[in-house]
Symmetry: D3
Subunit: 120 residues, 6 copies
C-alpha cells in the first residue's frame, strides 16, 4: 500500500501542473513570488522554512505542513528542532492544532525513515 | 474508478439529507435562508455565486469551493473568469490558499469536461 | 467496510501515540493540560464538552468535532441538545460551517446507533 | 472619562441602528434569526450564551466577547464559571487568544462592578 | 472632530509609506502584484472589487473592508448592491461578522454622504 | 502625546494583572507554559521568537505582533531580518495581512528609535 505521504506528493505534483496550465497572470506571478521568497537573504533559507512550517501549523493546513516538513528535513533540521517548532505552533494555535500535530508526527516518521534509507 | 468530484456530490447529498432530518429550527431556517440568498436582486445571481466562490477560497473550505464551482460553471462563467476569481482569492488569502487553488483546478477540469460532453 | 468514524478512531489513536513519542516538553505539557481542563469545576464537565464541541465547529476542525461528539454522546446529551449546539455554531460561524454540520450529522447517526446497540 | 465598555455599548447601539436601516432581506432575516436562536430549547438559554461566549473567544472577536459577557453576567453566571469558559477558550484557541482574555478580564471587572452597584 | 473614516485614511497613508520604505523585495513585489490584480481582465475591475469586499468581510478585517468600500463606492456601485454583498458575507461568515457589518454601515453612510456633497 | 506603542505597553500590563487575578487553573497554567516555551532548547530562543512573530502576523493579531516585535528587537535582530519575516508572513497570509504589516512598520520605527536612544 502506498504511504499517505507518497499520495500527497503525487497529488501535489498533478495539482500544481493543472493549476499552472492557467493563463491567469496573478496566479502565475503569485506562485513565482512564492518560489523566490524562500532563498537566503538577511535570514537564511533554513530559518524561512521553519517560519513557514510554524505558520502552516497555526493556519491548520496539512498540505502546507507536509510541504514544509519535507523541506525542513531535507535542509538538515533534526527531529528535536522540528518538534520544538511544532510545540510553539501548538501553544500559539491551541488544541485545535492537535490533529495537525498528529498529522505532522506521521509525516515526520516517514520522512526521517526515508532519509535514513537513502543514507544507507 | 469514480472521480473525486462525483464522490463529493454523493457525500454532499447524503450529508444534506442527514443534516435536514434534524428538528432543530435554527439549522433549518439557516439552511433555508442560505437557499434564498443567491437569487437575482440588486446584484445578479451570477455575481453572488462568484462572491461566494471567492469567500470559500479565502476561508479554505474545499466542499464550499466545489459547490460554488459547480454553480458558476452551470451559470455560464468561462474558465478565464473563474481563474481570475481564484487569482484574487490567492492574493487576498495568501499561499496558504494554494492547496485549495490546486483542488479547484482539478474540479474545474472535471466540470468543464462534463459540460463539453453534455454539449455534444 | 469500516465506518469512517472507526477509521477516525484508529487514526487518532495511532497519531496520538506518535505525537507523544516526542521528548518535546511544550507539547507534552500542552497535551497534559488539555486532559485536565475538561474535569468538573465551577462548570460541570458536561458543559465544558459542549463548549469544546461548539468551538470545534466554528473553527471547522472535523477531527476535533468527532472527538467532542463522541464525548458528549457518552456523557448522556440527547440528540436534540447536541443539535442545538450545532445550530448555534452554524449561526455564529456561518454557511462555511455547513459541510462540518453535515459531517457531524453523519457521525452522530453512527454514535447514537452504537449507543443503542450497547444498550440492547 | 467614559469606561471603554460604555463606549462599546454606545457604538454597538448606533451601529445596529445603521445596519438595520438597510432594505437587504438577507441581513434582516439573519439578524432576526440571531435573536431567536438564544432562547430556551433543548438546551437552556444560559448554556447557549456560554457556548456563544466561548465561540467568540476562539474566533477572537472583542465586540462579540463583550456582548456575550454582558449577557452571561446578566443571566447570573459567577465570575468563576465565566473564567472557566475563558480558560477552555484559551486552551482551544491558543496563546493568540491571550489579548482577548485580557480584554475579557477588563470587561468582567466593569460588569461585575456594575452589578454590585445596582444590587446596593 | 474628525470622522473615523478620515482617521483611517490618514493612518493608512502614513502606514503605507512606512511599509514601503523597506528594502524587502518580497513585500515590495507582493504590494505591486496587489495593485495590478484589480484591473479589467476576463472579469471587470468592478466585479473584482466586490469580490475583495466580500472576502474582507468574511476574513473580518475592518481596514480591508474600508479600503474596498471606498473603491466600490467610487466605482459607482449603489448602496443596495453593496448591501447585498454584505448580506452574502454575513451569511457565509456568520454572526461573528455582525460587528464588521456594523462597521461597514458606518463607513458607507460617510462615503455616500461624501459622494453626494461632491455631486452638489 | 503618548505613542501608540506606549499605550499598548500600559494596556498589556494592566490587562495581564487583571487576567492573572483569576483563580482559574487552566488559564494560570497556560500562561505559565507560554512563558517557559520561548527559552533556548533544540532551537535557540531567538528563532522561537521569530516563529512566534510570523505566526502572529498570519493570525493577524496586532497585540501579539507588538509583543514579539518588542522581543525580537531586544534580542538583537536587525530591521532587515525582521522585514524578511514580515515578507514571508505577507506571502503566506495574503493581502489581508497588509494592515498588520503597516502596523508592524509603525511599531518597528518606534522600537528601533527607542533602541538607538538608549544606545546613545
Amino acid at each position: 500500500m502506498t504511504h499517505p505521504f507518497e499520495e500527497y506528493r503525487k497529488k501535489r505534483k498533478a495539482g500544481n501542473e493543472k493549476l499552472l496550465k492557467t493563463d491567469n497572470l496573478v496566479t502565475k506571478r503569485f506562485v513565482s513570488l512564492d518560489k523566490q521568497a524562500y532563498k537566503d537573504g538577511a535570514l537564511p533559507a533554513t530559518t524561512k522554512e521553519l517560519l513557514a512550517l510554524t505558520a502552516s501549523m497555526v493556519l491548520r493546513c496539512n498540505d502546507c505542513i507536509d510541504y514544509h516538513l519535507e523541506t525542513t528535513v531535507k535542509l538538515g533540521f533534526t527531529r528535536e528542532e522540528i518538534d520544538e517548532a511544532i510545540g510553539i505552533a501548538l501553544l500559539i494555535g491551541g488544541s485545535i492544532v492537535i490533529p495537525h500535530a498528529r498529522h505532522a508526527a506521521e509525516s515526520l516518521e516517514y520522512l526521517f525513515g526515508e532519509q535514513q534509507e537513502s543514507n544507507n
